[in-house]
Amino acid sequence: MDQFVLLRHRNTPNIHQLSVYGDYAALRKAVTSMQPAEVIDVVKASGLRGRGGAGFPAGVKWSFIPKDRFPHYVTVNGDESEPGTFKDRELMEFNPHQVIEGSAIAAYATGATRVYHYLRGEFKPIARVMQKAIDEAYAAGYLGKNVFGSNVEIQMVVHLGAGAYICGEESALLESLEGKMGQPRLRPPFPAIAGLYAQPTVVNNTETMANVPYIINNGADAYKKMGTEKSPGPKVFCLSGSVKRPGNYEAELGKITFRDLIFGEQFGQGMLEGRSVKAILPSGASGPIVTDAVLDVPLDYESVAAAGSILGSASMIIIDDSFDMVWAAGKVMHFFRHESCGKCTPCREGTFWLEKQYNRILAGKAKLSDIQLLGEVANQMVGKCLCPLGEFATSPVLSSLKHFQKEYDALASDAKKPVPTKK
């Protein structure tokens, strides 16, 4: 892609300054010439799907906001704590006005007077950049009591979390924003009906918001020309692990494959010297691990799902053949044990037990029967947890067992010949 829609700072240096970014033409157009319902219709027609993982259509979500109960809130999810994900950070750090403008349009469309950008606590330096950009937008009259001189009010606040992956889950995020422990809520009701302070609330990912100005400026048809029919538009892919050039790369959904992303000249430029692709985690820690068999699968929601995993937030962790997969799955399990919020027993106890078993297996203290039990315990957790984290935690176990059972068995104390773990 030569012309970026999202990572526009790569074409236009200093776009974090309002004077370079421009005059919020999309927000102006929406507020001064469109009804809120028209804005929702355009976003619906564009087919924009949420970029936070689940891929739910943004315009449809906005249309769920009831019109008889106020105030409404928009919360922007910049918690970005999924291992392997670092796209929202780049967007906020280098192209903050586009995120701000998109979220202001969402506020106008849904009748919200206040927007909260929830950033993970470790994003303190990024919050400074966002705050500066928001201050500029206020000074220019693009935010505040009379946006573009109309009587539309949009206030915007940056709120820092304090270190907890679970706060990326939308109902936990709302709890956290209310000053409580970030534990998921029982649903329904969904945030659109009872969200922040039990009021109607939109929750969208930061990158989702960054798509909105383009849609308003250029129309749904122009947007739909990018990507595929079911997965339209551009996407930022986070590439990490054993590639020559890790980083964020923007491409149209479904127009590149895993192979393109890893080996393409304008993308990862191939594997590190002498290494080959052994496994891929397409959605950070939170999706099934796949093998090099998927290399020619296009990167859109449907294709990756058909290949046995999920596109999620498109955080591709590439593991090469010098690493042991039991070690890798154990790392992921450590993450989930650490981040389980403790609210429900299957997840709290299950992740604790699973991590312990991984340590035992890696230390050569487990038997073949223990490895079998590993899969059984993970299977028992499926469907019994309050929020998706508990289920996410099982997928690295089950998928690595499926593809790499031999590596597990080789570590068992009663296996024919134990093989030491490589790191």
Binding site: G84, E122, G163, M181, G182, G241, E339
Partner: protein, 165 residues
Amino acid sequence: MNKLFDKYQTEVDQILDKYPSDRKRSAVLPLLYIAQQEYGYCTPDAISDVAEIAGVSSTEVESVVGFYTLFYDHPTGKHVVQICNDLPCALRGSDKFLDHACAKLKLDKHHVEHGGATTEDGSITLESVVCLAACDKAPMMQVDLEYHERLTNEQFDQIIDGLKK
């Protein structure tokens, strides 16, 4: 007496302004950041100051402190250094980098990996943490929540020596 309120009145007012006036509880996290800076960690006084301003009980603030990793209910070193050793960073040598850091600071890696450890002179707390959204720039760390990325062992030493001055 509310030391936090007396000393940081402007900041506290600015924070409270960000939330609806009947939703002061939302200020708990931002207030805890100030309180922790003022008191060194989330002491009982810090917690009761925050509780009073936000209009909730100290017990509720305590549970918040316990829930989030960036709040400490015990003293830490003057600087907190967090090295990421999650999967993507570990695929790029963060484990060896962490080894070096432990050696340089004379800290036991097991402690660093299980809740963190503090140098004898009390200057630095080192923690091994999960993903910090900088996986393409490993090995990396945050020092008092500021990013330091694509680090060599030598750069680590320089940064640490700078902190100890």
